[in-house]
Amino acid sequence: MGTATGIIRALNSGIKHIAVKRFTLRYPEQKLKFVGDGYQYDPTSGVGIAGYKGRHMLFHDKCTGCQLCSIACEGVAEAIAMVKVPETWKHNKKSIMPQIDYGKCVFCGLCVDACPFYALYMTNDYELSSFSKEALIYTPSQLQVKPEVKQDVDIIIDNRGATHG
């Protein structure tokens, strides 16, 4: 008899779930909302600020070309290379700035932790796919652009189950 009750309880549980809300996130139409504007790091206190670890953003007026991000990346992914930039750019006596290859980057954010000048942050942009590997290499001028993202979906929990909306 235990078998029969077990089977009936399983069927009952299955049929009940037909009334529960669907949980699927319909990705291209819906995008999850993240905390803040991406992972940042405060070198004075030595603690990061929570956020999504997406594509980097480089502040040209703060970058001094010290190569610390490149050194931090050396043992991890070797994705950061220092490239020549026009010498007229401010604050940068060496006139080199990081260029990031997203074909290699693992988005660990250790380069952000390494930057002592608040110059390298991460953003919420994660849609980096491209048709060629060359297009994945982001030059300093591309990294300067703040990405426009439209992410507004969150998990909503109510009596009839959880859903994305």
Partner: protein, 377 residues
């Protein structure tokens, strides 16, 4: 009639009754490993596991990178459980470098590590469901993982490879309003987990399928040195969170789930009970966490350890996870050894599958809570 074979070539002696099957690495029921199984009819005569298809030499790589740069590498073996696999390493490096972790950071670590237990165990459970042909049990855990992943994403900024634990604390503090969101989602997740009971764990068909298959007795579990859920399913009360509490687990009330039969059913049920326990742990941690304080010790660049060695272990989703770090006064560790639960449970596989029916192979194999990538490192 004997033919002359060229030198160096031998013919294998073939028994007519025994057939050799290669289960894996492409077989849908194996994962990234191969089981060389010899069957007599439907009975498995012997089983020889052949791991190593995803061996990446993480231990060798760790000898060339400094203590901080190792972090993104060492979490690669189990990306679903990346906080837990970094946990013993961070504890070890902290002891080597003499770092003192703040109380808040310890609580944040406990929360992140327990959330990671969800992401790993639900993934494991999803695959266990599909191995047994239960498609709903594939979809539900895979969907419910999203709650834990969403929380970890808010906390650490990445959905799988978090790179969140560092020697000296964690990378960043809890985001604003995290406690409320975490409590809400963990409560709902617990509710969802309880619904697995009716449809999966109390399902008579599943019970008849997994009960009394691959029985590992208590003595054998100890003798074979198994760990984690496999050990606890065999009736040994051993959970490192209770027995050797690290960080703040001694301040939390952790209940160890011990089942006694040691068959596939108990082995598959223990992780589920562990997840329910994790909900309690997270709630306690959210209650007891200090409201403010630093979460990370500022390190010097390229910190150096002394001439010392440490062996630290934590309880991960797959069992005890130990890190043995030998330091020789360099910025790089001299030797890092990860003693992982999957590799320790691998030894059960030939033992349990011998004499078992071939149809039981997926049920027994995956109930060992085995993660091939972690075992290979």
């Amino acid at each position: 009639m004997t033919t002359q074979l060229p030198p160096g070539i031998q013919l294998e002696k073939v028994d007519e009754r025994i057939m050799t099957l290669n289960v894996g690495p492409q077989h849908p029921g194996s994962g990234h490993m191969r089981l060389i199984i010899r069957v007599d009819g439907d009975r498995i005569v012997s089983c020889d596991p052949d791991p190593g298809y995803v061996h990446r030499g993480e231990e060798k790589m760790a000898e060339y990178r400094n203590y901080i740069t190792n972090i993104p590498h060492l979490e690669r073996p189990v990306i679903h459980d990346s906080c837990n696999i970094l946990y013993p390493y961070c504890l070890g490096v902290e002891e080597l470098l003499g770092l003192e972790v703040s109380e808040r950071a310890k609580y944040v670590r406990v929360i992140a590590s327990e959330l990671n237990r969800f992401t790993y165990t639900l993934y494991w459970l999803a695959i266990y469901g599909i191995f047994l042909g239960h498609s709903t049990m594939f979809m539900w855990p895979a969907g419910d993982r999203e709650f834990a992943i969403d929380l970890l994403e808010k906390l650490t900024g990445a959905r799988v490879t978090h790179a969140y634990f560092v020697p000296g604390g964690v990378r960043n503090d809890l985001p604003a309003n995290f406690e409320d969101v975490c409590l809400r989602q963990v409560n709902y997740l617990e509710k969802r987990l309880k619904t697995y009971g009716d449809i999966f764990y109390d399902n008579p068909i599943l019970i008849s399928r997994t009960e009394k298959t691959g029985v590992l007795s208590r003595q054998d579990a100890i003798r074979l040195g198994t760990t984690g859920t496999v050990l606890r399913a065999s009736g040994v009360d051993y959970d490192l969170r209770v027995k050797e509490p690290y960080d703040v687990y001694d301040e939390l009330d952790v209940h160890t789930n011990v089942l006694k039969h040691g068959d596939s059913y108990d082995r598959s049920k223990t992780p589920w009970l562990d997840m329910l326990e994790s909900c309690n742990i997270i709630r306690q941690a959210l209650e007891k966490i200090p409201k403010s304080g630093s979460v990370r010790v500022k390190l010097k660049p390229n910190p150096k350890g002394g001439n010392d060695e440490v062996y630290k272990r934590v309880e991960s989703g797959r069992g005890s996870l130990g890190a043995y770090i030998v330091s020789r006064g360099k910025p790089e560790p001299y030797r890092v050894k990860l003693s992982v639960g999957s590799f320790r449970n691998l030894i059960c596989m030939p033992y349990l599958l011998k004499g078992e029916k071939l149809g039981n192979m997926p049920a027994v194999y995956w109930s060992l809570n085995y993660w091939p990538v972690e075992a290979d490192r």
